[in-house]
């Protein structure tokens, strides 16, 4: 099954938010940005801008008729700040003008008077000032003090991971108009239309039933449009309401990078106890993320880091604490993996340090610590139906790991200034939103009398192929040709109160809802078919575009005829479907429970060659085995695995977000912020879907498993391979490698390993 929009993509005819044909000219918004990271707003004078031809309005906090807030969890995020600047580049006002050019020039004429205030611009500065969002979160499992003091070996250390810009190719985009009935119609590049609708409504002071939000498709999301689209939609809607004309925003790239949050940087400090064989006995970890100026989704991101530091490894005792630094930087947000990658990076760092401390091969220490079936995670969920070991063994064999482990040692013995590193790392990733209430989904399916089908569901399409998978689900359920099915743009007036398309849950949850709607329709159609075919409804099966008597496939009625017959018999041809994820529960105070319906598993082998003179590396080969259960669409799942891996590779190697001493983002364009190109991806890049011996125990749609986020963390194999190569330059001991592992970071780590640190 190809991506449902593949032809539209390659011909350029697939339409995105900013490309809809609108009869009227759409006004454009452009921000007036703060040039300080923290300041008191003394005054905003827009008179010069308002005097320019083509300028209709300059939006300030005073213009907000409803609640001036877009915070998804805490109400700490003014849409337009009234009195305080919270980060460099923050929009203090928005010019509304006939086109972007005029709006931009007018924005430069708005005079802003600010009184500078001291700014906190790093995790360390926030810790020093004790400036955090919310009290600490702590997971406690067993007696950590006892476990650590009884451990034959103890190590402590620190590791940091960097931010990451989403760099979706389509920047944030929203437009809105007020229709003749007074409804506010919003089209937004958003992963969460229901929350966008709710935000627009309360900013405008309207009930939700006066706002409709649609998402056609996104040119990439990756979490960056989970909450952060809401503000741009609200601004467009506010401008449309005030001017009576359609108004929209499509952010130029640099503004998108300056105004929106990134993947949270983390600081992790740990103390670990282990025995002579490298078996983990206890862990105390203290994580601090950089939340930025407002809370946004930082609490659940932090939580996911806390519950993924264990990755695939069992700790008999653990105490894992997390805090969110409150800084004067853009508000960091969801990004594929949602804290999981940051937690696992720290976890893999620990495993490697334990191995190197003992002089054992890291892969040996890793596999010795895999969860055994049924063992408990630090948050109390048993790891069952585990595929860690099979996936690990499969990729180890396919990659020829054991032979290459020896070969790399031979290469390194013969080479002084270039070294090779090889590593294998596992991924265990929890599937479900940590917050239980988000784990529900809806669908709405219409059959038309010509046999065509309109499929609505609550999920959004951002390239991940969700719509395609939903077509597969509906076609399988109804036994019809997928070509009959048209997926409609996601819209809050079709399926209400939806969850964000996030947490890898889109296909799992919406798939079950779509299936439920189709099953309802099928039950109605089966009655009609049974009457026609003179058999029991329970004996009707749907396949090959027809309904037929299971006992005699020759007794059949075509799907179109059946739908017409149902209409004639006055049977409803429209149905909703609903799903809530079973099993899961979570205690948000004790931070214990069973937050995940199941775990996704994968493993990767990566080999690198590092130039000791420059720190530049080449990724030589990657092998991946990932468990997607019974795939709904193999090409799409492979694409998620490969794309997720390369995105993780970027986070861990070339992508570096840098702020100046004044808090200004210095890397705000692709000329300064470098995501991987084709040349960073090895020709030897082999991805296999795990060959399961048994179906997954969890009852996921079609026996499939979620695939959106987990593969990103397979890229940790590259980081660990780099560490292995760096170690080969030294005399043993810990390898302190910064993340991202830029050429400079690797060069510094090599110099450190050689005992001649670069000052």
């Amino acid at each position: 099954m190809k991506h449902e929009s593949a032809r539209g993509h390659v011909t350029g005819s697939a339409i995105y938010t900013d490309e809809q044909r609108v009869p009227e000219r759409v006004l454009r918004l452009y921000p007036v940005q703060a040039k300080l990271a923290h300041a008191r707003i003394l005054g905003i004078d827009a008179s010069a801008a308002l005097a320019m031809p083509g300028v209709l309005h300059v939006l300030t906090a005073r213009d907000v008729p409803g609640v001036n807030d877009t915070g998804p969890i805490l109400h700490d995020e003014p849409l337009i700040p009234a009195d305080e600047v919270s980060y460099h580049g923050q929009a203090l006002a928005w010019v509304v003008a006939e086109d972007e050019e005029i709006a931009r020039r007018a924005a430069a004429r708005v005079r802003v008077e600010l009184e500078p205030l001291p700014a906190i611009l790093s995790i360390d500065a926030a810790i020093a000032a004790q400036r955090f969002h919310l009290p600490p979160s702590r997971i406690v499992h067993g007696d950590v003090d006892a476990a650590l003091s009884a451990a034959p070996h103890r190590l402590s250390g620190e590791v940091r991971s960097g931010a990451q810009d989403h760099f979706y190719l389509e920047t944030h985009s929203s437009w809105a108009y007020v229709d003749v009935d007074g409804l506010v119609q919003v089209t937004s590049s958003t992963q969460h239309p229901s929350e966008t609708q709710a935000t627009v409504a309360h900013v405008l002071g309207l009930p939700a039933n006066r706002v409709v939000c649609r998402c056609l498709r996104m040119g990439g999301g990756f979490g960056g449009k989970e909450t952060q689209a809401n503000a741009f939609a609200a601004l467009a809607a506010l401008a449309a309401t005030l001017t009576g004309r359609p108004a929209g925003i499509q952010l130029p790239r640099s503004l998108d990078m300056q105004l929106t949050g990134k993947r949270h940087p983390f600081l992790g400090r740990f103390e670990v106890g282990f025995d002579d064989d490298g078996r983990l006995l206890g862990l105390r970890a203290d994580l601090v993320s950089d939340g930025g100026w407002s809370c946004d989704l930082s609490p659940p991101v932090l939580l996911r880091a806390l519950v993924h530091i264990d990755n695939a490894y069992h700790y008999p005792a653990a105490e894992i604490t997390g805090r969110i630094a409150k800084t004067h930087l853009p508000s960091n947000t969801a990004f594929r993996g949602f804290g999981g990658p940051q937690g696992m990076l720290i976890g893999e760092e620990i495993l490697d340090r334990v191995a190197r401390h003992l002089g054992l091969p890291p892969h040996l220490v890793r596999e010795r610590n895999f969860y055994a079936e049924g063992q408990l995670t630090p948050y109390g969920q048993p790891v069952d139906d585990s595929e860690i070991r099979p996936v690990w063994d499969e990729v180890r064999r396919l990659a020829g790991f054991d032979m290459r482990w020896t070969e790399r040692a031979a290469f390194n013995a013969a080479s002084t200034d270039r070294k090779r590193g090889l590593a294998i790392t596992p991924v265990k990733f929890g599937i479900s939103f940590n917050k239980t209430e988000y784990n529900q989904a809806g669908a709405l399916v219409h059959l038309y009398t010509d046999g065509s089908v309109q499929l609505n569901h609550g999920g959004t399409e951002m390239g991940q192929g969700l719509h395609t998978k939903m077509i597969v689900v509906a076609a399988r359920s109804l036994g019809i040709d997928p070509a009959r099915i048209r997926v409609m743009p996601t819209a809050t007036d079709k399926v209400p109160n939806t969850s964000a398309t996030a947490a890898s849950s889109g296909a799992d949850m919406n798939g079950q809802a779509v299936r439920a709607a189709c099953e309802t329709l099928k039950a109605r159609l089966a009655d009609v078919a049974a009457a026609r075919l003179a058999c029991a409804a329970t004996d009707i099966e749907f396949a090959d575009d027809q309904a037929r008597f299971a006992g005699d496939p020759a007794r059949a009625i075509g799907f179109v005829d059946l739908v017409r017959a149902a209409y004639a018999a006055r049977v409803s041809l429209s149905a909703t479907g609903y799903y809530r994820t079973p099993v899961i529960h979570w205690d948000p105070v004790a931070l214990r429970g069973h937050p995940f319906y199941y775990f996704a598993y994968g493993a990767a082998v990566a080999e690198v060659e590092v130039d000791g003179r420059t720190g530049v590396h080449r990724l030589l080969r990657v092998d991946i085995v990932h468990d997607v259960g019974h795939s709904l669409a193999e090409a799409i799942d492979l694409g998620q695995i490969e794309g997720g891996f390369v995105q993780g590779l970027g986070w861990l190697s070339c992508e570096e977000v840098v702020h100046g001493q004044d808090g200004r983002l210095l890397t705000d364009a692709p000329s300064t912020y470098k995501i991987p190109t084709v040349k960073d991806v090895p020709e030897a890049f082999s991805v296999h879907l795990h060959e399961r011996t048994k179906a997954p125990r969890a009852q996921v749609i079609g026996g499939s498993k979620a695939v959106g986020e987990p593969p990103l963390m397979l890229a940790l194999a590259v980081r660990e391979a780099l560490r292995d190569a760096v170690a080969a330059f030294g005399q043993g001991g810990a390898v302190e490698l910064a993340s991202p592992a830029t050429p400079e970071a690797i060069y510094r780590a090599i110099r450190q390993a050689q005992g001649r640190p670069l000052s």
């Binding site: 390659v10 790239r253 130039d611 794309g643 960073d680 050429p743």
Partner: protein, 475 residues
């Protein structure tokens, strides 16, 4: 067709009412030809890639529509993604991307389609051509593997009988001069110089890959523009036995193709220099004219003792590359002067170019270095050129270390002494690309690498550039 018309997908389009400084990208999208996407507006993502016909040949070249001002277009021919499919039948490039699942979100896809369609039409996908064709296109979804696979499949397929192919078999008519508003495109050097005398405030534009970024961000030249991309004299590339004369308007992609094997250091650098779409428009003259401090070719010109030919209203003169750049975006060129050509001598000796960046492909250098060494029969250094970019406000030679090397025997002590001196030779800055300490270290480390890889493997003896290249290939 009048003189403000260009051909878009084979159809004439008038630009009479257009702003010559507006980018082709914004103009296309304004006409609801939205297949061409804006991913960055800076020429760094390739989502806006279109095909531009280069009249010599003729050949199609992939270029960034965001960096192409409309003023450059009259008389030209452009092909966009909308022009590829015929009815319901997809172009082979499009079909290949559908078959390999090469699109996910689809926003970068039209740019990849155009890069591949051009490379396919021009027969450039063989060998390493697949990656080279798409190195300037960013994709955030797929991880590139299916796109690379589509490219490899296309490499084995015959060229499509499409509009691109038909036009390519057409006449190689040189471009006439053009003028759209205050955007003038003369065809002779004399006309260009006269235009500048008439409008002293006008800015020169070569390939517009630097100026185009400013235009794309809304900056407007107060005095209009004089484009240099239609002047035949600037397109000359003469490969002589002793020197190569590179016309100031020769795109870098042409240098990469036509000078392959001539200058080892250039072969080292050009594959890592900018994206394909930028190399198809950017020129050596533009690099020298704008004197951007990040130009990786300027150290090369310093190391090779190149000479710059300038022309002005008062006549022509030559200026050694060494001494041409005076400061940050300040050169010995007078504003009314033009770079006509650069004469690069073909030396004996051993030369090599190095570049270290955060991302190796298409990124601005942290440090770029070009070295040239000649040794005599006694293995003493007869000549040394050690040129760097990224370590000062301008590209610069490490003269003190060059002097230190002169006359010394080329041995481990000399190499190490020089390397350590190079580490202390400059006072670079800390910035978002790298720390000063790392830059200083690279100054020495790249020299050590040069000594190990090029000089030692070349036997350490006096070698011609050609021998050095053979030695490089043998290694």
């Amino acid at each position: 067709m009048d003189d403000t018309t260009f051909l878009l997908n084979g159809e004439p389009r008038s630009l009479a009412a257009a702003d010559p400084n507006q980018s082709l990208l914004r103009w296309l999208r304004g006409l609801r030809l939205t297949g061409t996407k804006e991913g960055c507006g800076d020429g760094d993502c390739g989502a806006c890639t279109v095909a531009l016909l280069e009249p010599a040949g003729p050949h199609w070249r992939a270029v960034n529509a965001c960096l192409l001002p409309l003023g450059a277009l009259p008389g030209r021919e452009v092909w966009t993604v909308e022009g590829l499919a015929s009815g319901d039948r997809l172009h082979p490039v499009q079909q290949a991307l559908v078959d390999t699942a090469g699109s996910q979100c689809g926003y970068c896809t039209p740019g990849f389609v155009m890069s591949l369609a051009v490379a396919h039409a021009e027969g450039e996908l063989a060998g390493h051509g697949c990656d080279a064709a798409i190195e300037g296109n960013l994709c955030r979804c797929t991880g590139y593997r299916p796109i690379r696979k589509a490219a490899q499949r296309l490499a084995a397929e015959p060229v499509a009988e499409d509009g691109l192919a038909r036009r390519r078999q057409g006449p190689a008519a040189p471009l006439a001069g053009a003028c759209l508003g205050a955007f003038e495109s003369p065809t002779t050097l004399a006309d260009a110089l006269a235009a500048k005398v008439a409008r002293p405030q006008a800015q020169w534009i070569a390939g517009a890959t630097d100026v185009g970024v400013a235009l794309s961000r809304g900056e407007r030249p107060a005095g209009g523009s004089i484009a240099l991309d239609r002047i035949a004299e600037l397109q000359v590339l003469e490969i002589g036995a002793d020197a190569v004369r590179i016309g100031a308007g020769v795109p870098l992609a042409r240098l990469e193709r036509e000078l392959a094997g001539v200058f080892p250091a250039l072969d080292d650098l050009l594959p890592w220099f900018a994206a394909r779409q930028v190399k198809n428009r950017a020129t050596l003259g533009g690099n020298l004219g704008s004197a951007s401090p990040i130009g990786d070719l300027l150290p090369w010109l310093l190391a090779l003792d190149a000479v710059i030919e300038l022309a002005g209203p008062g006549g022509r003169r030559v200026q050694p590359a060494d001494g041409y750049i005076l400061g940050y975006r300040k050169t010995a060129r007078q504003d009314e002067e033009l770079v006509v050509a650069v004469r690069v001598p073909r030396h004996g000796g051993i030369e090599a170019g190095y570049k270290v960046a955060k991302r190796q492909a298409d990124d601005i250098s942290i440090v770029a270095a070009v070295y040239r060494i000649e040794l005599d029969d006694a293995r003493r250094v007869r000549l040394a050129r050690l040129a760097y970019g990224g370590v000062a406000a301008t590209p610069v030679r490490a003269r003190a270390v060059e002097d230190l090397l002169l006359g010394r025997e080329w041995n481990a002590d000399t190499i190490e002494t020089a390397a350590q001196s190079l580490e202390a030779a400059f006072t670079p800055l800390d910035d978002h690309r790298a720390s000063a300490a790392y830059r200083r270290a690279l100054c020495g480390e790249l020299f050590r690498r040069f000594a190990e890889e090029r000089v030692q493997r070349a036997g350490g003896a006096f070698l011609s550039a050609k021998d050095a290249k053979n030695a490089k290939e043998a290694s």
